[in-house]
């Protein structure tokens, strides 16, 4: 399908909550250096899929291949150990801590028993600079003093700090204004340009068409299509989201036929 091999590849993922079958034979591939957009209506199973990848709700069946190797990811720690970071919609930052403290939260660097503030501050600054983040005045600013876009920036930069290979972004622009959305999308692009496999979950097709290289559409727990952004139009994607099929795009039926 692509010249590169996917860094994260899920095959035939199924997940049920009791009698509710949420994910049906979902295939998903995330490539290094590319932004893959995951789109779908409410209830299509986007969040469940993210949680399956992150190890919060492990899948019932299916293959989980990371860098081509099968993995058992059953807890968030397993996912983090592989280099998979999730940036949640509600950000999960501590407002009373500053930017450096938030970026290293839970993974503080130490020299002896005390925290190595100097190294942490330098590294945080390096990462922010490498992502060309210039909108924060000082890395010692408390997060409470940041705007929504700046907070999103910090949350994304936090995931880049750990040499992560895959970053999942859950609705990163949902609550942002125009200028802030711009900043965050630029940041998403730069993150991918550094070779990270980025998955962007979004409702906003403008955002998706702006940064995504590929689009995976979910419809009622099934993959409706997995296409390159440049091969489709916004109207087609809307059709995929709302009806699960669109003229001229290989639909779930052909997809299922090709995989089985």
């Amino acid at each position: 399908m692509s010249e590169k091999s996917p860094i994260l590849n899920l095959r035939g993922i199924n997940k049920s909550f009791g009698v509710v079958h949420v994910l049906h034979d979902v295939d998903l591939a995330i490539y290094p250096g590319e932004v893959t957009a995951l789109v779908g209506d409410n209830g299509a199973g986007k969040s469940t899929l993210v949680k399956a990848i992150a190890g919060i709700y492990p899948a019932d069946s299916g293959e989980y291949l990371f860098e081509g190797q099968p993995q058992h990811v059953t807890s968030p720690k397993d996912a983090a150990a592989l280099g998979i970071e999730v940036v949640y919609q509600d950000l999960a930052l501590c407002e009373n801590l500053d930017i450096v403290e938030n970026m290293f939260l839970g993974r503080e660097m130490k020299s002896g028993v005390v925290m190595d503030e100097t190294t942490m501050e330098s590294k945080a600054r390096e990462v922010l600079a490498s992502l060309s983040v210039r909108t924060v005045k000082s890395v010692r600013q408390s997060v409470a003093s940041l705007s929504g876009g700046q907070r999103q920036t910090v949350a994304i930069a936090k995931s880049a700090l750990w040499n992560s290979k895959v970053v999942l972004l859950d609705e990163p622009t949902a609550a942002l204004g125009v200028a802030q959305t711009r900043q965050v999308l630029d940041l998403v692009r730069r993150l991918a340009d550094q070779g990270v496999g980025v998955m962007l979950i979004s409702h906003n097709l403008t955002d998706v068409f702006e940064v995504a290289d590929r689009i995976t559409a979910l419809y009622l727990g099934r993959v409706a299509a997995d296409v390159r952004t440049k091969d489709v139009t916004s109207t087609q994607v809307v059709e995929l989201i709302t009806t699960g099929q669109s003229a001229g795009i290989p639909g779930p039926a052909t997809k299922a036929a090709s995989t089985s």
């Binding site: 407002e95 925290m115 010692r140």
Partner: protein
Amino acid sequence: MTDIITDAEEAGFASDLTQSNTFGESVRAYISRVRGGDMGALPSIAGLVVLFIVFNFANDRFLSNLNLANLITQAGSIIILAMALVPVLLLGEIDLSAGVAGGTSACVMGVLLVKHDQPWYIAVLAAVAVGAAIGLAIGLLVAKLGIPSFVVTLAFFLGLQGIPLWLIGEGGSVRVNDSVISGIANNNLSVLWGWICAIAITALFAAFKLLAHRRKVAAKLQHQPLAVVVTQILTLGAVLLAVTYILNENRSVNPSFPIKGIPYVLPLVVVLLAMWTFLLTRTTWGRHVYAVGGNAEAARRAGINVARIRVAVFMACSSMAAISGIVVASYGGKVSTSSGGGNTLLYAVGAAVIGGTSLFGGRGKARDAVIGGLVIATIANGLGLLAQASYINFLVTGGVLLLAASVDAISRRRRSATGLG
């Protein structure tokens, strides 16, 4: 918002990389921070100064050496209990039972000393262990079972008052005669040791501050100008040496029995303050306490064991409360069935809040307990000298607490208005 971007656009991180602020600029920056609502210890220190001035005019004995030494001894137990509560308040929780936990622990110590003839160190260790056990129980109920800390500690506040009654009988009390224990509040460091300690602490503080400053300059990180660091060192040194000088003077009213030297309570408070400041600001544990208090869900997602932090904090609180209870026993020379009851806890909570610790979690420092404890003790001491009826004392203390809470609320509103957080 827009000017932040343009500023940063030009400067990148240069704004804090070079940080070639002059002393004057830093002072102006501090003033604008204070006006923006980030006041830190300023209101409580200002309040303390006002109280000192008022009481000095009202009664010329207030600033006498004898009274100042008394004030420090009286403040000791409040400060230690307030310091116990700071980490609990940082979590956004409350421990209503800390006072009686201290009283219960002190009773255990008293009974071991007097009825079982144990040496003081066994008794003290046992008291702290009892405190830790109480904290463990509270912590497990709050963190694992999920009962609100207000309810759990209210139950412990009621229940624990029964333990001293059971240990030493209805309405009784046990005299604590052990020389070491009663020495904590009643004996003094020798004049020479007082000076050595004061100078050593100043030197240590200066060394830490200057080393940290040099490291930051070397790593090209954000740092305060050297002049500010030196001012901080000189201020602390001046206060310490002045206190030492006053306490090393003879303060006895009877010329044939000179009393001089620093009461042992003071170095105890200083050691605990240093310990808590270190734990809260330099260790990952302390960082995680702030994180849990700020946003428990974010802390959990960052891989922090939130339940373990909560249990540890409640254990630390009750253990510190035990030390406070021991200081009270030392000061009064006895433990009684009412030890740690009454207003003990509320004064300590008041002290922490007056000092600047937020009741909503995530904001506060160990030093808040010291400043707030001094304010509370000063009110009690000053009004006592004026021979006011005790109802005045309650009214004034309550008023000061309300004032402090108002200052906190107003500054929080200004913080959110100016976006300082």
